[in-house]
Amino acid sequence: MSARLSFSGISRRFGRKRVLEQVAGAVEIGQVLAVSGANGSGKSTLLRILAGLMPASSGTIEYRLEDRLLDSGERRRALGYVAPDLALYESLTVVENLRFFARLRGLPASAADDAVARVGLAPEAFYGTLSSGQRQRLRWAWALLGRPRLLLLDEPFQNLDAAGEALARRLLDEHLENGCAVVASPITLELPKVHERIHLAG
């Protein structure tokens, strides 16, 4: 049982603007890699690059699962991702949304039903009618579909109430028993099992 994400020399420019410069890090099962930095320092960009949603200007990313190196397409489909820019379909209900993504990842419909139950949302509510805190809970449910071994969490507790944050922390704890996580946040979060911290100067 192994899963290891490592990256080095990650740089990213947008035209004249340099957002990331030679960032490196690694994380293994049971560990958290905490990424901090001010607004605009490139935390979200780094996570998008690690997720394979955006090309890096230079640098390498390696994700090994059970001693097998995944290519960027496989990695993209094998990770869980929570971020403010993640939205689901407004005209579908919570459970329809998750079942759709479960089918895309080759998971049974019950995986979607389980995920909804874990975050305590009403399955038949339309995504368009959810509050921002409920949407954040749904992002967690979406990220945990199929129990991925790697979670990329960008401001994971944003908009959550006390109960919601406690739930999210419990989910993260459960996940770390058998997986790893990269967490980005502008404030220093009290997180268990932080093994490495990256501070982006911006």
């Binding site: 960027s72 489909r77 990770l79 971020a83 689901l88 407004e90 005209s91 579908l92």
Partner: protein
Amino acid sequence: MSASTWLAEATAVFVKEWRSELRTRYALNTFGLFAVTTLITASVALGPASLAPVERASVLPVLLWLILLFTATAGLPRAFVFEEETHTSTALRLAASPGPLFVGKAAYNLALTLALEALVVPLFLILFDLAVASPGLLALALLAGGFGLALGSTLVSALISQARGRGTLFAVLSLPILLPLLLFSVQLTRLAILGDAPGQTVEALLLYDASLTVASMMLFPVIWNP
């Protein structure tokens, strides 16, 4: 990836698109209103009797395909643009494999195009009192032309979804791709109305569809994840 999971993914995308569409009716309403408006305008101006019989076979096919093109342009680009606008593309990128995703989207656009043709063509034939000498050939022109229209629009939709000024850009990018297709379709429709032998036009149209299919399948993964 096995063929059955591939097909299951494409079907999931197709079903999701229809479920959203049937709830919002965005494309169907747009198509209906757009098609009816243009049909009425054309019909009032050019009615069954105001064109000389010799002109009919050359003017009406062009009119029909222009109505189909512009109506389709009002709905088909949504395929990927809408995902980007509502930020659902992030989740889609992380869950779907590009091949089945493209096929599901293109199949949905094809279904929309065929629905549009099923609405427009009978009305068009009735309003202009147009007799078709070879209906089979007309069906072929509509099917093959509609296929190219749907596929080309889906590909261009994916290209422009990551750009600015999507509305004008769609017209600019799709015109050169769809122009030859429209020329073939218009010609084939004219031949179908007159009942003439289609000659090489059928081959040209089918070959065009085939190269469009190959090029799209090859390039979509690159366009989707740059």
